[in-house]
Amino acid sequence: MSESDYIKELPLVPTTVRQSTEVKTGSWRGRRPVINSSRCVRCLICWVYCPESSIVWDGECVRVDYDFCKGCGICYRECPVKAVEMVPEG
C-alpha cells in the first residue's frame, strides 16, 4: 500500500470505510470468459452462479465486468447454450 492511500483518520469504532469495489480482483485472472452475444439467450444462469457478481445484466445485454472476474470458468461450464468461451489472458 502506498503512503498516499493510507487512511489517516481511522474511525473511532473500527468499521470499514471503503467498499471492495475499489479492489479490482480482475488482475487475478489467468483466463477470461467471453460471451458470444449472438448465441446468448439472456437466461442469466451465469448471473446466478457467478461468485464475483461480475455478470452484469443491463436489461438488454449480458456482459462480464472484467474489473472483478477472477476467471473461474463457472459461467463457461454452466452456460446452457455454450455461449461462453474461455480465452487465455495475454
Binding site: I7, P14, T15, T16, V17, R18, Q19, S20, T21, E22, V23, K24, T25, W28, R29, R42, C43, L44, W47, V48, Y49, C50, P51, E52, S53, S54, I55, W57, G59, D65, D67, F68, K70, G71, C72, G73, I74, Y76, R77, E78
Partner: protein
C-alpha cells in the same frame, strides 16, 4: 408458497455482497450469500462467524457488505445474533425503532457451526430467537488451510486427517447437523445447494415466513480444499445431490419433505448415481479412488443408510 422467481429482476436488484471480495476463484460461498441476500428484504442485519467469508470480505479499509454486518468471533455468531435480535425488541419497546421486523441472518462455516460454534447455536435455537442461521458447509477448516471438521466426510483428506499408512483419511462420518437442528425443534430446517438455486431461494423464502429459529444447511464446494477445477463448483453440487450424498429436504411444522432433485430421485430411484461419481472428481478422495474401494464402499453404505432413513421420515409423514 413457491411463487415464481424472476431472475431478470434479481439480476438488477441491489447487490448486497459487492464484488472485489478476496474469495478464491470458484468459491461457492459468495454465490450462496448472493442468492440468500437477494431473497431477503431490508431491514436486515448479517452476523458472520469467523471464517473464509468474514476474512475475504472485510479486510480494512474495504468491505464487500452492502448491508449492516457484524463479525464478533468464531464460536459466537448465534449468540451475537441473539443479542441483535433482543436489541431490536427492546428498542422497539421504547419506540426507537419501528414495528417493521428486522431480518437477522447468520452466515457460519462448518467449523463455526458443527464444532466450535455448536453450543451457542444450540442455545439460540433452544431460546427460540427469530433468526435465520445459514451454514455454508465447505466441509473443513478452509480458512486455516484445510483441517478436518465435524462436517468433513468419511475418508476425505485434510491436513489434519491425512492419508497415513495406519489411518487413511478422516475415520468418522459427517455429523448430521441439520437432523440435530430438527431435534432441537427449530421452526424450519432445510438443506440446499447453490446449484439448485430455485430450491435454495424458495427455502429462504419459507424460512423468512416462519417465526422462530431457522436453519439452512447449504453445501459450499471449495476448489482449493476439495481439489477440483474451479469451474466445477456448481457441477459438484449436482453430483452431491444426484448421488444422495447431500439430499435436498426441508422440515417445518412437524413435516419432513424431500425437494427438487431429491424428490425426483425418490420417485425414480434409477436416477440415483453411485457415490463414486461425486468422489472421483475430487482430489481429496484420490486415495479412495486409487485404493481398494474400501473407503468408497463404506461411504456408499453410509449414504445409502442415511438416504433410506430420510425416505422413511418423509414417506411416513406423507402417508
Amino acid at each position: 408458497m413457491s411463487s415464481s422467481i424472476n431472475i431478470k429482476e434479481l439480476a438488477r436488484s441491489k447487490l448486497k455482497l459487492l464484488p472485489g471480495h478476496r474469495h478464491c476463484p470458484g468459491c461457492a460461498a459468495p454465490i450462496i450469500v448472493k442468492l440468500v441476500l437477494a431473497t431477503i428484504d431490508e431491514p436486515v442485519v448479517v452476523v458472520n462467524a469467523t471464517g473464509c467469508l468474514q476474512v475475504a470480505t472485510t479486510i480494512f479499509p474495504y468491505t464487500s457488505w452492502n448491508v449492516p454486518w457484524i463479525h464478533n468471533a468464531f464460536e459466537n455468531a448465534a449468540a451475537t445474533a441473539s443479542g441483535v435480535e433482543a436489541a431490536f425488541k427492546a428498542l422497539r419497546k421504547r419506540g426507537v425503532v419501528g414495528d417493521v421486523g428486522v431480518n437477522v441472518i447468520v452466515f457460519g462455516g462448518d467449523g463455526g457451526t458443527y464444532d466450535i460454534g455448536f453450543q451457542s447455536l444450540s442455545g439460540m435455537v433452544e431460546r427460540g430467537h427469530n433468526i435465520l442461521y445459514v451454514l455454508y458447509d465447505n466441509e473443513a477448516y478452509m480458512n486455516t488451510g484445510i483441517q478436518r471438521s465435524g462436517g468433513t466426510p468419511y475418508g476425505a483428506l485434510t491436513t489434519t486427517s491425512p492419508y497415513g499408512t495406519v489411518i487413511p483419511g478422516k475415520p468418522q462420518h459427517k455429523k448430521p447437523i441439520a437432523d440435530i437442528m430438527v431435534a432441537h425443534r427449530a421452526a424450519y430446517v432445510a438443506t440446499a445447494t447453490p446449484a439448485h438455486w430455485v430450491d435454495l431461494i424458495n427455502k429462504v423464502r419459507r424460512a423468512l415466513s416462519t417465526i422462530g429459529p431457522k436453519f439452512l444447511h447449504v453445501l459450499s464446494p471449495c476448489p482449493r480444499g476439495w481439489r477440483f477445477d474451479e469451474s466445477m463448483s456448481i457441477e459438484i453440487c449436482r453430483l452431491a445431490v444426484d448421488t444422495c450424498y447431500f439430499p435436498l429436504w426441508e422440515y417445518g411444522g412437524g413435516v419432513w419433505r424431500l425437494t427438487s432433485r431429491s424428490l425426483e430421485i425418490a420417485r425414480n430411484p434409477a436416477l440415483k448415481k453411485p457415490v463414486e461419481e461425486f468422489v472421483k472428481v475430487q482430489e481429496r478422495f484420490r486415495h479412495a479412488v486409487s485404493d481398494d474401494q474400501r473407503i468408497i464402499k463404506e461411504l456408499q453404505a453410509y449414504v445409502d443408510a442415511m438416504w433410506e432413513d430420510l425416505l422413511n421420515r418423509c414417506a411416513v409423514r406423507h402417508s
